[in-house]
Symmetry: C2
Subunit: 214 residues, 2 copies
DNA sequence: TGTACATCAGTGAACGCGCGTTCACTGATGTAC
DNA sequence: TGTACATCAGTGAACGCGCGTTCACTGATGTAC
């Protein structure tokens, strides 16, 4: 609904502004629909095999329509990645904040479970980590997200040890990298069904968490 | 050179056999040249962006010629991967065999250094680990190689602890996965040159190795 | 020895495909008067 | 109120590209006689 401004002198112009702002809002809402569709597609196939046509099909629109909302493919994919990244950081932040002091094994289990169950975010992250042909801008965005993740692990390790910051940072690097490795290494574990793979990943991650307790 | 068999009765036929065997040898040698070229290309760009035409250009032949030696692209790529995998396992075996008893930090440093300096092998491995659309046959080949790598880490941990096999195997899983994660996570570390990235990876891997000493 | 033939590595051109992106058009909605 | 016009989301068709793969041909080498 259009809410009119009572102080309005140039009524038409003001209404126009409210109107355009509503239209801009609708546009953003439609962008969201497209990014949502993209996330769903990313959950089903490797990042580099997802096409504009795939996303359009999932969103139920023509592939040409995507270009009404995003200038090119990279802009859409970066948007999807950033949204996923924000969610990962937010989830980890909640987990760490709610954790018992120093219960790294609990934090690890919850974080690993989240990344397994929200596979598309992890796929995106590893895709960007491995892609050597990223623009400097993308590398910086990726790194900014990593720094936020490291910050969360810093919080956890400080809760645990109270050690100096430098040492904690390196621990965060090592621990996050190790968890990453578990999720990548056992992803295609053959001869095991999904539940068994998940159980194995959790178990191995738990072993690593235990090592980092000392 | 053709070495004639003195017991030869049907001289022509025998010579023919020697001749075909030489030709088969040449064919294999040419296959090797192509796989070598492929390895070099894999060292320069992500696995999934390498084309038959890239390999042909690197080998100095027409892209159509590849098909005289390999039935299709997958056969060539799998061949390249298996060769790289064998080399990784062999190198790790040498390192573990020559290591002081239980010097996990030394083993880690040498192994990580090798994987950084022979980047293409690591790229191939992670590509196959992340690719969800592998044939069952390829998944099994990948897993067979992983098992050989785990075997090497088993040897190392047994040297260190003398513990029972089950426990050692899980340690191998955890440790290998963690090293993998380090190599992936810091690959595109921004604002740092190659030497700094390598130093950082070695340092983080060292921290993890240290955690696994206890 | 020379000559006709077989083999086969190597190739440039072409095929069919899926991709990212652009274009010209339609049709719905709102505006001006 | 009706009518001419503007805006713009949405679209199917098309473009140009690189890809894996195939095809028809060439030319070098060896064989048969």
């Amino acid at each position: 609904m259009i809410t009119e401004n009572s102080e309005n002198k140039k009524g038409t112009a003001k209404r126009k502004t409210a109107f355009s702002s509503l239209k801009a809002q609708e546009k953003r809402a439609r962008q969201d629909v497209i990014v949502d569709a993209a996330q769903r597609v990313f959950a089903t196939k490797p990042f580099n095999k997802v096409s504009i046509r795939d996303v359009a099909r999932e969103a139920g629109i023509s592939h040409a329509s995507i270009y009404r909302y995003f200038p090119d493919q990279q802009a859409l994919f970066v948007e999807a990645f950033l949204r996923g990244a924000k969610e990962i950081v937010q989830v980890l932040d909640d987990i760490v904040r709610n954790s018992e002091q120093g219960d790294i094994e609990k934090v690890t289990e919850e974080f690993v479970t989240y990344l397994i169950e929200n596979d598309q975010y992890f796929r995106m992250m590893t895709h960007f980590m491995l892609d050597g042909s990223l623009s400097a801008e993308m590398v910086e965005k990726l790194n900014a997200m990593e720094r936020l993740l490291f910050d969360e692990f810093d919080k956890l390790f400080r809760k645990m040890t109270g050690e100096g910051e430098g040492e904690v940072r390196l621990l965060s690097h090592a621990f996050f990298a190790a968890l990453n490795g578990v999720l990548i290494t056992f992803r295609n574990y053959p001869g095991r069904n999904r539940e068994e793979v998940i159980r194995h990943m959790r178990r191995i991650a738990g072993i690593i968490a235990n090592k980092f307790k000392a």
